[in-house]
């Protein structure tokens, strides 16, 4: 159900994503992340089109960390920042971070060892139902995504929404 991808550019970094629906304790989970008890990024899945979007954000975060060019204070806040089309950090958290009342959450970890312990720890904390990460596409709020990333109609005719989103994420430093 989870998805683990080893970053090709950073072979000692793996990215693991888990998706939960019917979450009842989002506020508590957020508190755990603040306190460092959950060492991962908690993301609002309605702003995600596809798990690939998270991989793009995670790869860029690890690269920025390596180059000493992070814009935020941790690898996990950097992932959330990278998802956003703008350079406004608080806006990125508001849109892409998990909020207290959310009933679904996507969790991202970056690790170098086997993920089984991470999975077990997180599953024990979440009161909710884990579903395959690919189901994130069924939670997407298309209207909100299109508006936030300013996707044009012409663009939608020639490419997918995921293409549009990924291009803006990759290009945001120079826009």
């Amino acid at each position: 159900m989870h998805l683990t991808h080893e970053l090709e550019l950073f072979p000692d970094h793996k990215v693991t994503q888990m998706l939960f629906k019917e979450v009842k304790n989002a506020a508590e989970l957020r508190q755990c992340a603040v306190e460092g008890k959950i060492n991962g990024a908690l993301i609002n899945p309605t702003m995600l089109v596809n798990p690939f979007q998270v991989l793009v954000a995670a790869n860029k975060a690890v690269n920025s960390q390596n180059n000493g060019k992070m814009k935020t204070r941790s690898l996990y806040s950097e992932i959330i920042f990278n998802l956003s089309p703008t350079n406004n950090i608080s806006e990125a958290f508001k849109r892409f971070g998990c909020s207290d009342g959310d009933d679904s959450v996507l969790v991202v970890f970056i690790h170098n060892e086997d993920e089984s312990q991470l999975l077990a720890d997180l599953t024990a904390r979440v009161s909710g139902r884990q579903v395959p990460v690919e189901e994130v596409s069924s939670l997407t709020d298309h209207a909100k995504v299109k508006k936030l990333y300013k996707v044009t109609q012409e663009e939608e005719k020639s490419g997918t929404l995921l293409d549009a989103v990924v291009c803006r994420m990759a290009a945001k430093d120079v826009m």
């Binding site: 180059n67 044009t152 020639s158 430093d173």
Partner: protein, 235 residues
């Protein structure tokens, strides 16, 4: 130490990738990135340039390429998706247009007898796409039939035309710049594909019909042609 090692991540990755092309300014590789077939374009240092100037120029080209790709996408022009850009190694990671071939190969492989009629729809498509690109004020800077890819559609047989390699591109609204862009293509087109004057005329005709601002551009093209001819007579 740690920093030096991590900064080498991309060169290290590329050293194991498949080298497609070694150009004067950049190397083009094929690799798998985030699980997807990817083309990586890495601009490298030119030894004869001053290091600071070199860095600045290389950075600017990378930025321009990314900006033009996004601008084209917004206008609905098919260009490869940018997945990732690393400004320290000047590398751009782009979607590989899988199963595509260049327009150059497509024209070269069609029988000479069909070189005009059979290829007319393609020439018209190219003219339309370039018109849309110029209407967005994107100047490609290196238009050739190798920088256009054709990918066959799933079943309907309609192929999709992609523009690639925006490394020399820039933004300009000047008819002169657009005229020169077309002139560069004309020279490349006619020298790569002999006896295709009529075909290229079709391309220009469809450009003129599709672009809102074509008359000034075509006029500039004619001027540039004349200048080019005079220069070659003198030189």
């Amino acid at each position: 130490m740690a920093l030096e090692k991590s900064m080498a991540a991309i060169p290290e990755f590329l050293s194991k990738a498949e080298l497609l092309k070694q150009g004067a300014e950049a190397r083009v590789y094929r690799a798998t990135f985030l699980g997807r077939p990817t083309i990586v374009k890495e601009r490298f240092r030119k030894q004869y340039r001053h290091p600071l100037l070199d860095e600045k120029l290389t950075h600017r080209r990378t930025v321009q390429e990314v900006r033009s790709v996004l601008r084209c996408r917004r206008a609905g022009i098919s260009v490869p998706v940018v997945y990732f850009v690393d400004y320290s190694s000047h590398s751009i990671f782009l979607e590989e247009i899988v199963g595509s071939s260049t327009v150059r190969d497509h024209i070269a492989s069609s029988p000479p007898s069909a070189r005009c009629e059979g290829l007319e729809p393609l020439a018209e498509r190219v003219g339309q796409v370039l018109a849309r690109m110029h209407d967005e004020d994107v100047i490609h800077g290196d238009l050739t039939t190798s920088n256009m890819l054709l990918r066959c559609g799933p079943e309907d047989g309609v192929s999709e035309l992609f523009l690639i390699d925006f490394g020399l591109s820039y933004i300009s609204a000047l008819p002169e710049d657009k005229g020169v862009d077309l002139y560069v293509l004309e020279k490349a087109f006619l020298s790569t594909h002999p006896h295709t004057e009529a075909l290229f005329q079709r391309l220009l005709k469809s450009y003129a019909a599709a672009s809102k601002k074509s008359s000034a551009v075509i006029k500039k093209l004619e001027e540039v042609r004349l200048r080019g001819r005079k220069r070659s007579m003198v030189g």
